[in-house]
Structures are given as structure tokens and as C-alpha cells.
């Protein structure tokens, strides 16, 4: 009678070798994602540092953003970015949260199964398309009908960015409301509360971390949005510092595209190529901070329930 030992149960050498190769290949692909992050950070920091080393630091705080004239006023494009992001959130926050609350607490099964895909389709519309829509519909029919703003304005671009961000806010906020356990709702109804009271006083407070996460993610998306601003906010070449949303303005992203597609090559004028990367680094850090904060809030929801 032969006795089996652990050796007999071992996988055949060929299978084991193949196993090791496959494992290594998969690990390599996962490692590649880290390499990509490293490459992003290195290329941004490297070029930004070389820009700061060469530029006259006074040019970073002047009257406006005119890179081809050597004026790199950071506050102009940061202010433009924040104004457009604020307008976008004025649109996206109420629309997104109300839509999420409706889908999560009020809509029946059938309504949900129709509305959710439609929202996903809205989310799939490319941002160039919304930029064109902003310039040819929102601006003349909304902004110019109500005010005497020019065709290109930060307001019309901001509203379009808000439309772009709404499906994102609504879907993250709805996930958070969906995660609120049913016993909280049942307890509320059991005490005789109405659906309105249950939604507003029980579900929303319980999901507040997730709603904040949704809003932070929305702001991050709005700050990074490029094409709408490049098409509809005006100020392609440069812009003076300005805070009026009914005027054309320059954002960080639009400033970058304007530099990259300018009639002369990106590498043409003295420091314009490097200046791209300082703006890019700033944008990267802002969105990263918002995304990390948003993720911390989402984790809080998960820990609670």
C-alpha cells in the first residue's frame, strides 16, 4: 500500500510555473498604474519647478493672465476657476440632491428603472457638446435674455458645467441615501412621521456624509472641466483679473488649452510650455485634495452602517 505524502498533492511543475508567470503578469499590470501616477507627478513637478526657476516671480502676481506677454497671474485663473465652479454648484447641488432624494425615497420601482438610465445618458454627453450648447443656447436664450452680458460669459459656462456635474452629484448622493438602513425609515414611520419628515429629518441627516462627498466630488469635477470653459467662457488669449460672472473669464483649464492650441506652437514662446505644467500641478493638487476629502466622507458612511 502506497502512502500519500504532501509531495504527491503538490501541483505539477508545469502548472505551477504557468501559475507563477500569470501571477507575475497580473502583478505587473497592477504595478503599471502606480508607474502612471508617478509619471504624472514627476512630469508636472519637474516642468513646474523649471518654470518657477526661470520666471520672474513678480510675473506670477500681476494684473492678468497673458502668458505670451510674460504675465502669468495665477490669481486671475484661480478666481475664474472658482467663480465657474461656484456657479456650477449653485446649479448642480440643488438639482443633484433633489433628484437623488426623489429617486431614493419617492420614485416607485418602475419610475426608477426609467429615470436612472436617462440620468446615465445625460452623464454620457461629452463636454464639448455641452460647451457648444452653452454657447449657442444657454448664453443667448438664458443669460442674454435676462442680462446684457456678452455672448461669452463665465455665467453661461458655469451653468453648463453645473449640468455636466449634476448626474455625478445625484448618483453619489443617491448611493448614500440608499445605504441608509430601512429600520431607520420604519422607526420614523412607526412614530407617525410623514414621508416628508422621514426623508428630510431622518434619511438626509443619516446620509449627510455621503451627500457632502457627492458635493466635494462635484466641485472637483467642475474645477477640472475643460471643454465647456474653453468654448463658452471666452478669453482665449488672456484675461485681466475680474470677478464679474457676466464677463468673459479665464480658468486654469481653459488657459491650458489656449496655450496648447495657440497659433504658435506650445514650445514657441519662451516659457509658455513650462507654465502649462505649473497650472496643471495646481489643478492636480486641488482636485486631489477634494477627491481625498470626498473619499474620507464616503468611508464614514460605510463605517456607520
Amino acid at each position: 500500500m502506497t502512502r500519500l505524502s504532501a509531495l504527491d498533492l503538490r501541483v505539477a511543475p508545469r502548472r505551477r510555473r504557468r501559475e507563477a508567470i500569470v501571477r507575475a503578469a497580473f502583478a505587473g499590470t497592477a504595478g503599471l498604474t502606480v508607474v502612471i501616477s508617478g509619471a504624472i507627478v514627476l512630469s508636472l513637478v519637474g516642468n513646474a519647478v523649471s518654470f518657477i526657476a526661470q520666471v520672474d516671480l513678480g510675473a506670477l502676481w500681476s494684473d492678468g493672465w497673458f502668458p505670451r506677454r510674460g504675465m502669468y497671474d495665477i490669481k486671475t485663473i484661480v478666481a475664474g476657476t472658482l467663480i465657474i465652479a461656484s456657479i456650477a454648484m449653485l446649479v448642480a447641488a440643488p438639482l443633484g440632491i433633489a433628484t437623488a432624494l426623489y429617486l431614493s425615497e419617492y420614485a416607485g420601482r418602475r419610475t426608477r428603472s426609467i429615470l436612472k438610465p436617462v440620468l446615465e445618458l445625460l452623464a454620457a454627453i461629452p463636454s464639448v457638446v455641452l460647451g457648444f450648447f452653452s454657447l449657442t443656447w444657454i448664453s443667448p436664450n438664458l443669460i442674454q435674455a435676462l442680462t446684457d452680458a456678452p455672448l461669452f460669459s463665465m455665467a453661461s459656462a458655469g451653468i453648463a458645467v453645473g449640468i455636466l456635474v449634476t448626474p455625478l452629484v445625484s448618483s453619489v448622493a443617491e448611493d448614500a441615501m440608499h445605504a441608509v438602513p430601512d429600520y431607520l425609515r420604519e422607526a420614523s414611520y412607526g412614530l407617525g412621521a410623514r414621508r416628508r419628515t422621514t426623508s428630510v429629518r431622518v434619511v438626509v441627516p443619516a446620509a449627510v456624509s455621503g451627500i457632502v462627498a457627492a458635493l466635494l466630488l462635484g466641485v472637483s469635477r467642475a474645477i477640472g472641466e475643460t471643454m465647456i470653459v474653453a468654448i463658452a467662457a471666452g478669453a482665449t488669449g488672456g484675461s485681466l483679473f475680474g470677478l464679474n460672472p457676466l464677463e468673459p473669464g479665464q480658468t486654469m483649464t481653459a488657459a491650458m488649452t489656449a496655450l496648447a492650441i495657440g497659433s504658435d506652437q506650445v514650445r514657441g514662446a519662451a516659457l509658455t510650455f513650462e507654465s502649462l505644467f505649473l497650472v496643471g500641478l495646481l489643478l492636480f493638487l486641488m482636485t486631489l485634495a477634494l477627491n481625498l476629502a470626498s473619499e474620507a466622507f464616503v468611508r464614514r458612511v460605510r463605517r456607520q452602517y
Partner: protein
């Protein structure tokens, strides 16, 4: 004597229960939510209708000519053939690069990796990569592929940049699909002596396939509509040759549908409005078709374990 049994409280409760007065606040809340919902959907409809109406002149007078003509500064002869070919090549490039790498990384993280600090770092890193603004990927492509490797502004570089852009999305959606496959499937396969790789290939991936497929289809649609990174790495409309050989096309200057939209949206002549709108109709039709199919597929194969 406790408060609950005092006559005044009992009377109050009775009054409240019997009154059932008109709760206007509930109606206001419900109305506001419906309004938000309608606005979100209305915007989608207005956008589609507006673009379709603006596109009518081109789409009715010369639909085929528009699809098969080259770009031109003369509106009456301009077409989008180069954009169609360019976008198709770009998406194919993304499919062949991002999908295998992305699925591989997801399989490693979900099926192979143990829960170590390094794995957690890789996961967090991928989530953050997904939140990096698209234009920053354009900067990466510009710094690494165009300048550092000296490839120049060619189609391959655009494809590489887009592939890196959608990679984290592919990893995240594939991870979700793999996580939805119950552990019992894996345990059954491992229990009869299958290796990790055999388990993954023959059991886990087939069950997760519908989820992986919809996720990847959606990420390809995303790549199809992405504009900003392509502008950074030089998808300038005009010189892309559709008539040369494949190698020539891959290593030469190129253009894509969304960058044509951007270019034409900036043209002052009214004829270009209609051309831009017609290009958007083609772009959005493809994207809505692809997304619609993906959503249907997902709902159809949505499996509850």
C-alpha cells in the same frame, strides 16, 4: 402624573390624528423634487432637440457628402471623414491597450493580492487616478510621449494618452464585477484542485463577463468623446490623411470627431454652426447608442446571487 396621560397632551394627540389638515410643506417638497427631475430630463431633451434642429440644413442637404468629405475651410465642402477614421483608430488603440491591462490589474487586485499596505496603496492610487482631470492626462502625454520620448504629435500618442486616461475606469468597473461573483464559486473550483489561474479563467471571469463587458464598453464611449487631452497632444484638425496606409495614419498628424467639434465651434461663420451641430449629432448618436446598449446589457444580465 406623567405628561403623556395628562388630558391636554391626549387631546392634542387626538386632535393631530383626527385633523389630517392640508400639509402644504409635503406638496412643496414633492413639487420641488419633481421640478428638479423634470429640469434634469428637460435639459437633455432641449439639448438634443436644439442640436438636431441646428444640424438639419447639413443633414438634409448633403448627409453622405458630409460624412465622406475631408475638412475644409469652405463650409459648403467641409466634412468629417477624417474625424470618423481618427476617432475609430483611437478607440481601437484604447481597446487593445487599456482593456487587457485594466482587466489584468483588476484580476490581480481582486483575486491574487492579499490585503497588505502595498495593495491598499495601489487601490487608493487607482481611485485617485480616476479622479484626475482629463486635461492633466494630456499634460502627461505632452511631457512624456511628445517631448521626452520625442514621438511628436502623432495618432499613436493620442491613443496612448486616452488609454492611460480610461485605464483606472476599466480597473474599477472590472473590480466591481469580479467582487460580485460569490466566494462559493471560487471555493468550489479551488476545492477540486484547480489553480488560482484556472479558477479565475474558467469560473470567475465567465460569471463576471457581462459586468466587465458593460464597464469596458462605457469606458470606450468615454474615450470616444474625450477632447481636452487630445488637444494637449496635438489633435489639430486639418492635416490627417485618410487616404494613406495604416502605418502612415498611425504615425502622422491626426484629428478626431470631438476636436473637430471644438474647432468648428470657434469658427465665426454661421454655416459652421450647422456643421458643428451635424458633427455633434454623429458623435452623440454613437455615444447614446453605445451607452444605451451597455445599460440594456447590464439590466439583462444583472444577476442576483
Amino acid at each position: 402624573m406623567s405628561a403623556a396621560s395628562s388630558p391636554s397632551t391626549a387631546d392634542l394627540v387626538a386632535l393631530r390624528l383626527r385633523s389630517g389638515g392640508f400639509d402644504w410643506q409635503s406638496y412643496v417638497l414633492h413639487g420641488a423634487m419633481l421640478l428638479a427631475m423634470l429640469l434634469a430630463l428637460g435639459i437633455l431633451l432641449v439639448l438634443l432637440a436644439d442640436v438636431a434642429v441646428k444640424a438639419l440644413p447639413v443633414l438634409t442637404q448633403r448627409p453622405l457628402d458630409f460624412l465622406t468629405s475631408d475638412l475644409s475651410s469652405r463650409p459648403a465642402r467641409a466634412g468629417i471623414a477624417q474625424g470618423l477614421v481618427g476617432s475609430l483608430l483611437l478607440v481601437l488603440f484604447v481597446a487593445f491597450l487599456a482593456l487587457p491591462i485594466g482587466v489584468g490589474a483588476a484580476v490581480y487586485l481582486e483575486e491574487y493580492a492579499r490585503d497588505t499596505p502595498i495593495t491598499r496603496f495601489v487601490r487608493t492610487n487607482i481611485r485617485n487616478l480616476a479622479g484626475v482631470p482629463a486635461i492633466v492626462y494630456g499634460l502627461l502625454g505632452l511631457a512624456v510621449f511628445v517631448t521626452l520620448l520625442g514621438l511628436g504629435e502623432i495618432l499613436v500618442v493620442g491613443g496612448l494618452t486616452l488609454a492611460i486616461l480610461v485605464l483606472p475606469i476599466v480597473v474599477i468597473t472590472t473590480s466591481e464585477a469580479l467582487r460580485a461573483v460569490p466566494a462559493s464559486i471560487r471555493e468550489a473550483a479551488l476545492g477540486v484542485g484547480a489553480t488560482r489561474w484556472e479558477t479565475v479563467r474558467n469560473h470567475v471571469v465567465p460569471y463576471a463577463a457581462p459586468g466587465i463587458l458593460t464597464g469596458t464598453i462605457l469606458s470606450l464611449a468615454r474615450a470616444f468623446g474625450e477632447t481636452a487631452p487630445l488637444l494637449m497632444v496635438g489633435a489639430v484638425a486639418g492635416t490627417f490623411s485618410v487616404h494613406g496606409g495604416l502605418i502612415e495614419q498611425l504615425t502622422g498628424p491626426y484629428t478626431a470627431l470631438p476636436t473637430i467639434v471644438f474647432n468648428w465651434a470657434g469658427q465665426p461663420q454661421d454655416e459652421f454652426r450647422s456643421l458643428t451641430a451635424a458633427t455633434i449629432v454623429v458623435l452623440v448618436a454613437v455615444i447614446l447608442l453605445v451607452n444605451g446598449t451597455a445599460i440594456l446589457l447590464r439590466n439583462r444580465y444583472d444577476r442576483r446571487w
